[in-house]
């Protein structure tokens, strides 16, 4: 059992902790804040001189993207078991302080937030990475293979699930399809939750799916919780934690354009004065506080020399010893080539992308069911979107989903075409 008793808000696995949905705010920079930051930044620039040695000694723009090994070392995927423990701890704290009183808590998060993977770690005790909370064992409720049910069949299916002891649904989007016979399971689940017919449970739900069901069941009040948005500081803490390999390493990242520092973050007690970039603030706004999207852009923006692999390995052997040279370089967001939406006059692209987000990824047959677009046409659209790096297919289960790096472009496209959006 992974126990966390420290203040959950400061947990670097889940920076900011969990907050009620209505407290979630989009990380952005107001005019006042921008002006304030700009003045402060300018003053710092004037106060702090950059020595010749600290300047990028050569143009870094042409450096190649990170190799797989470098990526694993400098910007790896998070450990979801740690995140699960942080979530369990956060929920327990919320129950203790009385801000969470419901038996069933809904955790809503935008795609790529890692909530689904973290909740999947709330598995049976004894399994690696499993999480227990308050001495309770959690049972994962898995979706049925086929999702077509009428009301009676849905009722019988839920009767067969043991919801009397603590249960977890990692992703509610896996329990329904946007077709007439695909709604019954979720409708019945919400009916049972509203009636108090279930024991303690956690329902993980993608923000797109939640938005749909919030509009479908307009009178349902579930008071969902969500991870706090990743602002610049939280992103910095999180990236530093990911790259630190459990505190063994301190990674330094600097801008390729002017050598300003991105990581490590400035500390109040720092004696050494450094020029810091606004990269993380811009990244937080661009990713709309979404950690998965921010990580994907971060991975793409990092650069390192091919011979840095050896240096990094050397650094691994000398923990806590920080060298003067940067471990990696960061390309400014303006120079990054992010996926662009292929031009199309037809709305089929929108149907496909909206369907994928609504259901957190779908296979071709299910996509045909929810969009009404033929498999032949779907294959044309999907291959086009795949070439643009906006969607990807998981070969293990043949499920198509939107890529984290393409998510901001996809969301903007759906917004401009008038499709229903999530609130994140």
């Amino acid at each position: 059992m992974k126990d966390k008793t420290s203040e959950n808000m400061d947990d670097p696995c889940l920076p900011g902790g969990l907050v009620p949905l209505e407290q979630w705010v989009l990380p952005q920079t107001s005019v006042r804040r921008s002006l304030k930051d700009a003045i402060r930044h300018a003053l710092e620039q004037l106060r702090v001189g950059v020595s010749q040695a600290e300047e990028p000694f050569e143009s870094m723009d042409e450096l190649p993207e990170l190799s797989a090994a470098q990526k694993r070392r400098l910007a790896p995927e998070p450990d979801y078991a740690d995140q699960a423990a942080a979530i369990a701890c956060g929920l327990e704290d919320a129950r203790k302080d009385g801000s969470l009183t419901r038996e069933v808590v809904c955790l809503v998060a935008p795609p790529f937030s890692g909530i689904q993977q973290a909740l999947a770690c709330f598995s049976e005790p004894g399994q690696s990475g499993s999480v227990e909370s308050g001495g309770e064992e959690w049972r994962i409720v898995l979706p049925p293979d086929a999702l077509s049910f009428d009301d009676q069949e849905a009722c019988e299916w839920w009767d067969r699930q043991d919801l009397s002891r603590p249960w977890v649904i990692p992703e509610l989007a896996d329990f329904w399809l946007r077709c007439l016979s695909g709604l019954a399971l979720v409708k019945e689940l919400f009916r049972r939750i509203a009636n108090g017919d279930t024991g303690r449970g956690i329902v993980g739900c993608s923000s797109w799916c939640w938005r749909y069901w919030g509009q479908y069941l307009e009178n349902a009040q579930m008071s969902p919780w969500t991870p706090a948005p990743m602002d610049a500081e939280r992103l910095g803490v999180w990236f530093a934690r990911l790259a630190s390999d459990n505190g063994k390493r301190v990674v330094t990242a600097r801008m390729t354009s002017d050598g300003e520092y991105v990581l490590p973050l400035a500390k109040p007690d720092d004696t050494e004065k450094r020029k810091y970039s606004t990269f993380l603030r811009d990244l937080a706004a661009m990713a709309r506080g979404n950690p998965g999207v921010a990580l994907a852009i971060w991975q793409r923006s990092l650069r390192a020399r091919p011979d840095d692999d050896a240096k990094l390995e050397e650094a691994d052997e000398k923990p806590k010893k920080q060298s003067g040279a940067a471990d990696c370089w960061v390309v400014p967001l303006a120079r990054l080539s992010l996926p662009a939406m292929p031009q199309s006059k037809e709305s089929v692209t929108g149907f496909v992308l909206h369907g994928l987000l609504l259901h957190n990824g779908l296979d071709m047959d299910s996509l045909e069911t929810v969009t009404g677009v033929s498999v032949y046409e779907l294959s044309l659209v999907l291959s086009r979107l795949k070439r643009a790096d906006l969607v990807a297919c998981d070969q293990s289960n043949k499920r198509w989903s939107v890529t984290p790096i393409g998510y901001p472009t996809v969301r903007r496209h759906l917004q401009s075409w008038g499709f229903p959006l999530d609130q994140f």
């Binding site: 077709c179 007439l180 695909g182 709604l183 938005r211 479908y216 006059k345 929108g350 075409w417 008038g418």
Partner: protein, 267 residues
């Protein structure tokens, strides 16, 4: 009479060079207007949602601004812009228009009124005198709408004074669509209403954050259901209504609810 109005004096100072200059200005203005009228709708076609509507709506406004600017530039080139000269020219112009082009002037004035009252904008779906379609362009004298059958209908602006103009989306991208279902009586009305609501909610074209309503009327021949919802794009309205009707009919048939078998008009 021309002497009385001072027109002769006003135009006495016009030289060949001034005429050429004025012609050049008019030519440039016409070119700019043509480019705007061609390019903006093409760019708008590539955009979706609100940006498309805003871009289309800016075309007549820009044209008016260019015309006004041209007049402001051209008149001082041709005549000395004194008070007497202005009164003479615009007085004569008003007189000529008043007599010769009464209806034309009427439409022109109505055209100016449409620009600030905005009863319709390019991109709006309107119905005037039984003609329904999307406003393609707003000219100086008339507006052009394209019907669902791809027929262009020219509607003079002076219809504004004495016709009822129905605007489906009124400058927004929210256009309510209605799918009608005429069913035999003796069925579970609550169940059918729920089912038709699900039909709208499961359509990929539905704006789910706007109301989805199912209205039912009891008629002598049976029950009349009206399923009301908003498509994500007004351009999709006909596919949307067709899809709702087809899927709703299929599901009602599956549930054993029958449609009325006689034409509604016969009752």
């Amino acid at each position: 009479m021309i002497d009385d109005l001072g027109i002769k004096d006003a135009f006495a100072s016009i030289t060949g060079q001034a005429l050429l200059q004025a012609l050049l200005v008019v030519l440039i203005a016409s070119l700019i207007i043509m480019v705007i009228q061609k390019v903006f709708p093409r760019v708008a076609e590539k955009l979706g949602g609100k940006p498309r509507l805003y871009l289309l709506a800016s075309v007549p406004l820009l044209r008016l601004l260019i015309i006004l600017s041209t007049i402001v530039i051209v008149v001082p080139i041709l005549v000395e812009p004194s008070f007497e000269n202005m009164v003479a020219i615009f007085g004569a112009l008003a007189l000529a228009l008043g007599f010769a082009f009464k209806d034309y002037a009427n439409s022109l004035i109505a055209g100016i009124v449409t620009l600030y009252e905005m009863p319709y904008r390019p991109g709006d779906w309107i119905e005037v005198d039984g003609q329904y379609g999307q406003v393609r362009a707003i000219g100086t004298r008339a507006a052009e709408i394209v019907t669902p059958d791809d027929t262009v209908v020219v509607i003079p602006h002076n219809k504004l004074w004495n016709s009822l103009i129905a605007n489906g989306n009124n400058g927004t991208d929210n256009l309510m669509c209605v799918a009608d279902f005429h069913l035999e009586a003796n069925h579970d009305v609550g169940r059918v209403r729920e089912l038709l609501r699900d039909v709208a909610f499961t359509s990929p074209r539905t704006k789910t954050w706007l109301p989805v309503l199912v209205i039912v009327f009891n008629k002598p021949w049976g029950m009349h259901y009206r399923l009301k919802a908003y498509p994500f794009d007004p351009k999709e309205q006909f596919q949307f209504i067709s899809e709702l009707t087809a899927r709703g009919s299929a599901e009602l048939a599956r549930q054993g609810v029958k449609f009325v078998s006689v034409p509604v008009a016969a009752n």
